[in-house]
Amino acid sequence: MSFAAHVVVMLKPGIADPQGQTIERALPALGYEGVTEVRVGKHIELRLDADDAEDATRRVNQMCERLLANPVIESYEVSVR
């Protein structure tokens, strides 16, 4: 069976995110006051063949551990359908 997976990779909480900080500083210049906690991450989409949704989720999690995310600085969330 073919499954669609969505992966969101974010810097772990507490790790400085200069991109998010820069965006946060830019927004008030456009009139958006009171915006806080801007964090920038990656959204990765892929399709894969797997026996079932559980198998697909397991394999995508493994991809995250090995390649799609760097567990030293990044966390990830996987959704499969």
Partner: protein, 230 residues
């Protein structure tokens, strides 16, 4: 005794010839090793040069760490062989788990290409033995992701072990603990963001980089003569 260095060339490396030339000028024999090789020739030290290996897609070094040659580099390191990763090479060593931590975008979000001053805080490594304690070196940097990070417990352990070998005098990129160059716990794998190979000739403005490569060659020559029959 002659020393043999192997410089790994990834698709997208761009400092390999500078490394080759610098090491050769200091008396080493140099092999260039294509990343697709599954084994290393007989070399005393492996150099992972700077550049943009595999385009640095996804994250710097993330794809390069799976190049076929990296298994052999890992074996060489696990057996105690010396490895230096410079700039992109440092990023690859972190991704490969051969060095602790990771390299993030510079805190100022600017690509930095300039001369910096580096303080040698541990001259007792194989990579810095020619330096005096606290000696300041002038070597250029050239990177966008040089902001080294590791978790607090790891940093504390590294500081206790003297693994933060080089520190920026004026931190340009936000690196934790001003770290510009670190070694692994065993002391045989060294990663640094600055480019010693660009500072090995007075014509280029500094010969301080030769202190790094020279230290390595000293170490290897001592080892070779110690191992040689009397």
């Amino acid at each position: 005794m002659s020393v043999r260095a192997g410089v790994v060339v990834f698709p997208g490396s761009n400092c390999e010839q500078d490394c080759r030339r610098s090491l050769h000028s200091l008396g080493a024999d140099v092999d260039m090793i294509w990343h697709a090789e599954k084994s290393l020739p007989v070399v005393d030290i492996v150099v992972l040069p700077g550049g943009f290996a595999h385009g640095d897609y996804l994250r710097t070094g993330a794809i390069a760490r799976f190049s076929p040659v990296m298994e052999a580099v890992t074996e060489h390191a696990r057996a105690g062989g010396l490895v230096i990763g410079i700039c992109n090479g440092f990023q690859i060593l972190c991704e490969a788990g051969l060095l602790p931590g990771a390299l993030q975008k510079n805190s100022g979000l600017k690509f930095l290409c300039k001369w910096v001053q580096l303080r040698v805080d541990n001259p007792a490594t194989a990579f810095t033995s020619r330096a005096e304690p606290g000696q300041v070196l002038r070597i250029p940097i050239n990177h966008f992701e040089g902001n080294w990070y590791c978790d607090p417990a790891t940093l504390e352990r590294m500081r206790d072990n003297g693994q933060v070998v080089l520190r920026y005098v004026d931190n340009p990129n936000g690196a934790l603990d001003d770290a510009a160059g670190i070694v692994n716990e065993a002391g045989n794998v060294f990663g640094l963001m600055p480019h010693p190979e660009r500072a090995c000739d007075v014509l280029l403005g500094s010969e301080d980089g030769a202190l790094i490569f020279g230290s390595v060659l000293d170490r290897l020559r001592t080892r070779s003569s110690a191992a040689a029959p009397a």
